[in-house]
Amino acid sequence: MRTVAIHAVPEEQLTHVTFDATMEERISELLTHYPTRRAALLPVLWLCQERYGWIAPGVIEAVAARLGESPAFVQGVVTFYTMFYTSPPARYVLQVCKTLSCAVCGGRELLEHLKARLGIDLGERTQDGTFQLIGVQCLGACGSAPVIQINDDYYENLTIEQLDALVDELSQGKEA
């Protein structure tokens, strides 16, 4: 498994977003799934996050205009859910499960290790923008605790050694 890095488009380039033909096509297709335009909001936000790496205010305005909602409404939705990035994320977002099963099965140690190794605290990112560390709630994989999600991928049953190897690999990927 090779975790795909996130490429966050800088905010300056997202002040006035217009959807290109590919995006438009996918949005139109999504709209056929639902009887209301509003219902396509989450899928369209996902599309945008895939495309731009995060949900910038400019993206919110474009989505709001496309779906006929107020930007405030869309921003309210975006901020309710924890998975939409409202600021540009690092290339790899390390999402460490903090909930009970993971916590008691080595998750806490993994988290401490990551903090020490990367020299950052929860919510922070490394200076070179490669890693960002966040604590998340139960990822629904408690049987293979401890669990870390990196970008879209799950890494389960992780030992500190495996995690170190993984972090090495990903940081090298940056150079490649």
Binding site: I60, S70, P71, A72, F73, V74, Q75, G76, T79, F80
Partner: protein, 529 residues
């Protein structure tokens, strides 16, 4: 209609009524924070818990419609008391308790209920949650936000989604860290923005213009009607010691539910502008102060001597004033009278049924003038009207039309003597030979006919400043001075009665039934919603 028993009182209410409203009719006040009669029901605050006989759990009154034979206990139930106690403790856990420096004090639902409930301890010893940066923030031109005080009732959000339809406000984040904001923190420029402070049950949203100008409990409220446009929103003039502090919406489902637009609401201040305090007469180019008696005697002669008399009335004047003007100047003195109207900014208002009412008419009483058979003219025709010659021009309201303050109008008015009623400084004062001080809406009494055809009464909040008199009274005094006893009617009620017998548009209406209610202290009508 279903019958319910609430704390022992039986009431019969229309099907679909919720328990809060049913209880109100039974004289039982069920506390509520998130419920608002004109907003959707969300059941978020949980303070309205009641016990329903036969139900194992407590229910929220706001979301429970009455059913026939229901037996409800509110104040008489120990379980209810405990539950509400707990909810209050939760709500106050993070509430700053800064009532002494909070401008909502005195009209705060949370403070009120806290007081009624009477509990003065808490188990909470943790550090209170705060929202740094959102503690005294200008959310928009009229709204100051203090998020620390927010009790998450979502009324303001629902207002912008359901009533003003801008959906300009939203919760951001979630859980205990959710806060109220606009998109990206942009200014909250909703045309109804101040209503969000009305619906805010606590001091989280307050009105910039009113904050810290007067403690709420000092205010007295007088029922009135908005002078801002022809929709005729019902409002209270909140005043103290002859100063108007604000307008607040007065409930009327047919017109403005419990809303006011920002434009109308912030006209309140303008009622305090009173520059003309005494009758003035121009002699050899100089204005001299005269008494009402002298003025009326002299004017009676001038008016009867005028062979051609022209009157510029106004769609800002009450039906009573317009009626007297028509009877006196047109019927009796055979003068000519026009009512200039000018299109205003487009305004709209949502009534209690959720329908928009629209207006492009800047006057509160054009419809009244029309129904009295008066001639409504635009600026162009007003100019032509003034261009013709006359021995005497009477201007009942210099602010009737912007044309009256143009250099051209002044030039035309200089040609012959002009009598003008005046309250604020206005260019016509430079050319008028007589200036009579007239009272503001806050000191006047009468009715306006809204564009929707509602004849609505407004009442005087306090007596006029200086020697000013309400317009109807000036006309009555003039009629008396001229010996026209049929028009010597000593109150707007009497004028209205005369009008109701004579005029089609008013037949069958009774003064006492025109709504408005009685003047009250602010407390008595607060939080209709």
């Amino acid at each position: 209609m279903p019958k319910v028993t609430i704390d022992g009182t039986v009431v019969e209410v229309p099907a679909g009524t919720n328990l809060i409203e049913a209880a109100r009719q039974a004289g039982v006040a069920i506390p509520y924070f998130c419920y608002h009669p004109y907003l959707s029901i969300v059941g978020q605050c949980r303070i309205c818990m009641v016990e329903i006989e036969g139900a194992p759990r407590l229910a929220i009154a706001c979301a429970t419609p009455v059913t026939d034979g229901m037996v409800v206990r509110s104040e008489t139930s120990a379980r209810v008391k405990e539950a509400r106690d707990a909810v209050m403790e939760f709500l106050l856990a993070n509430h700053p308790l800064d009532c002494p420096v909070c401008d909502q004090a005195g009209e705060c639902l949370l403070q009120d209920h806290s007081f009624t409930e009477g509990r003065d301890t808490t188990h909470m010893v943790e550090t209170r949650r705060t929202f740094p940066g959102l503690e005294r923030r200008l959310l928009g031109p009229h709204i100051v936000q203090n998020q620390n005080r927010c009790i998450h009732c979502s009324r303001c959000i629902r207002f912008t989604q359901e009533i003003s339809e801008t959906a300009a406000l939203t919760y951001k984040s979630r859980g205990n860290h959710a806060f109220i904001d606009t998109f990206d923190g942009q200014p909250f420029t909703d045309p109804f923005s101040a209503c969000t402070a009305d619906v805010c049950p606590v001091g989280a949203l307050t009105i910039r213009e009113f904050r810290f100008r007067k403690r709420a409990w000092k205010l007295r409220s007088t029922p009135s009607v908005c002078p801002g446009c022809s929709i005729g929103c019902n409002l209270w003039i909140d005043h103290h010691e002859r100063t108007v502090y604000r307008f607040t919406p007065r409930e009327n489902p047919a017109v403005n539910a419990t809303w006011l637009c920002d434009f109308g609401r912030f006209l309140a201040e303008s009622l305090n502008e009173t520059h003309c305090l005494h009758p003035l007469h121009r002699v050899e180019g100089q204005l001299h102060r005269v008494s009402w008696g002298e003025a009326m005697r002299a004017l009676a002669l001038d008016v009867s001597a005028a062979r051609t008399l022209r009157v510029v009335a106004s769609a800002n004047l009450s039906n009573e004033t317009l009626f007297l003007a028509r009877e006196l100047f047109v019927r009796h003195l055979k003068g000519e009278l026009v009512v200039p109207v000018h299109p205003g900014e487009p305004r709209r208002m949502k009534n209690g049924k959720g329908e928009w009412l629209y207006s492009r008419d800047a006057h509160p009483n054009s419809e009244g003038a029309r129904r009295l058979g008066l001639e409504l003219v635009d600026g162009e025709r007003l100019a032509r009207f003034l261009y013709g010659a006359a021995d005497l021009t009477v201007i009942l309201d210099p602010t009737a039309h912007p044309y009256l303050s143009t250099a051209e109008a002044l030039q035309l008015l200089r040609v012959s003597p002009t009598l003008s009623l005046a309250r604020t400084n206005h260019p016509t004062a430079e050319v008028a030979s007589w200036l009579l001080p007239v009272a503001s809406l806050a000191s006047d009494e009468g009715t306006f006919t809204s564009s929707g055809g509602h004849v609505q009464r407004f009442q005087p909040a306090f007596s006029p400043a200086g020697e000013a008199r309400p317009a109807w009274q000036i006309l009555q005094l003039l009629a008396r001075a001229m010996g026209v006893s049929a028009l010597d009617l000593d109150s707007p009620a009497a004028v209205f009665a005369a009008m109701a017998t004579k005029e089609k548009g008013f037949s069958g209406l009774e003064w006492e039934r025109l709504g408005g209610g009685s003047p009250s202290t602010y407390r008595e009508h607060q939080h209709v919603g």
